[in-house]
């Protein structure tokens, strides 16, 4: 079961899309998992032949639990036990404890041989997360088959989503020492370039200004790469891939923040296509596991509702979130003249364990500079 985001520790396997004997390639969608936030299409991370399924549809499955055995090309016949333990690098006992304590094994640093996660590692992770949290009275089973659930009502889904968001945000504010910076950026050049560019595009190829902001954030992360990172165990892990999580408001409330992978490498047209596709699927509650597990930073925008500034709460285990307000006309001094200009307020919420105000301000300066040269994005 892949990571389903900071606010999800379990999912319900809705259906298998493959069967034993099927050949799969890395990235193929093999199953659908229901969570409080979306129906997640699970992609396989290995290529080979499916040996057998380990989980029945309708089962509630903790994150990190093996779902199936895949025999890779040239690989000897596996045994279930060795396959499970080697792939996860976590002992069955530790996995059970992680589930019991609500700890995501993917975020635990293993101290055993080869980084294997042991019970003490899980206990340490739980204690670090919340020292005051009492242990539960009774452990839950690792895999609890149950009757397939009926499709949730909008009210049920909304309530479950609020609980999930609340849990993740509470954890964030409890564990992450946030600090906040704000900056206002003149978007005159960017908006003029966008308007001119869209005149020459067909309606289906038009760009939204949000795409310029996303690309600029992605490129600014090359200048301050420590913000493109996740906090794992007790240390920060920087990522080479820039996978920006995009906060998407859902109909009737709630939000998700799936990733656009390799945001920095996409052209504006490719990014617009990916952005539109992601928003459409998110609002249909249909996302892919890699989109949920991949974000290395999040961008949120509340400009649609004319909000000036948003100071976001970091999505664990990420270490930063960038917030944009509305693009508004303001009197702006430029080259000694006071002119009405489109400007946007940008905020950065960052993890003080990872960086500080000096470096974080360098990120905002880089972002500003990039948006002054929109044709280079």
């Amino acid at each position: 079961m892949p990571t389903l985001g900071a606010d999800m520790s379990v999912g319900i396997l809705s259906s298998w899309l493959k069967k034993p004997g099927d050949t799969v390639q890395r990235g193929d969608i093999i199953a659908v998992v229901h969570t409080d936030k979306a129906d997640v299409e699970v992609e396989t991370f290995a290529s080979g032949v499916i040996e057998r399924m380990l989980v029945e549809p309708g089962s509630e499955v903790p994150v990190g639990t093996p779902l199936a055995v895949i025999r890779e090309s040239g690989e000897a016949e596996p045994t279930a036990a060795s396959e499970q333990e080697a792939r996860l690098m976590i002992s069955p006992s530790a996995r059970e404890l992680a589930h019991e304590l609500g700890v995501d094994p993917a975020e635990v640093r293993g101290s055993g041989p080869g980084g294997r996660i042991q019970r003490k590692d899980v206990e340490a992770a739980a204690a670090a997360r919340d020292p005051a949290r009492p242990p539960p009275s009774a452990p839950r089973p690792a895999v609890a088959p149950q009757a397939p659930a009926a499709a949730p009502s909008a009210d049920d889904r909304g309530a479950a989503m609020r609980r999930a968001i609340g849990a993740a945000m509470s954890r964030s504010k409890r564990e992450i020492p946030h600090f906040y910076l704000g900056h206002t950026i003149d978007l005159s050049r960017a908006m003029s370039w966008l308007t001119e560019s869209n005149v020459h595009r067909s309606v289906s190829e038009r760009l939204l200004h949000g795409v310029l902001l996303l690309k600029a954030v992605a490129l600014a992360l090359r200048v301050v790469p420590e913000l493109n990172a996740t906090w794992q165990g007790d240390e920060v892990v920087r990522h080479d891939d820039v996978n920006i999580g995009v906060a998407i408001a859902l109909r009737g409330g709630g939000l998700v923040a799936p990733a656009i992978r390799h945001t920095d490498e996409l052209s504006l047209d490719e990014l617009m296509h990916a952005f539109r596709d992601l928003v459409t699927r998110a609002r249909r509650y249909s996302l892919r596991s890699s989109e949920i597990s991949a974000p290395t930073i999040t961008v949120t925008s509340l400009g649609e509702r004319t909000v000036d500034t948003v100071f976001g709460v970091i999505f664990p285990p990420q270490v930063a979130i960038v917030g944009f307000g509305a693009v508004v006309e303001r009197l702006w001094v430029s080259d000694g003249q006071v002119l009405p200009c489109p400007v946007v307020s940008v905020s950065l919420s960052a993890d003080h364990r990872v960086t500080d105000g000096h470096r974080a301000s360098a990120f905002l300066v880089a972002l500003d500079r990039l948006l002054q040269e929109p044709e280079e994005l």
Binding site: A154, V199, S202, V203, L208, R251, G252, F275, V279, T280
Partner: protein, 84 residues
């Protein structure tokens, strides 16, 4: 194309963009954004859908004058007149 046909076409596009919305309760003289909680991505999808449904290309420069269902009907009627 009549105004009613245009209105039905726009509503068909909206139904695809906001599947759960009760479009029968939509006030044609009030803004779509507030009534349907739609954003710029939805507006872009609406423009794309209208292009596909009614073969009218709405330029970005016209977005500001298109806030209500009546605005869309009026704007599109001027550009589809004589098509039926």
């Amino acid at each position: 194309m009549t105004d009613d046909q245009i209105r039905e076409g726009v509503l068909r596009v909206l139904a695809g963009i906001v599947p759960g919305a009760d479009l029968t309760a939509l006030r044609p003289d009030l803004g779509l954004r507030d009534q349907l909680d739609i954003d710029s991505m939805d507006y872009l999808n609406l423009a794309i859908g209208i292009h596909e449904e009614l073969q009218v290309d709405i330029p970005e420069s016209a977005y500001d004058q298109l806030e209500t269902l009546d605005d869309f009907v009026r704007y599109l009627a001027e550009r589809t007149s004589g098509s039926t």
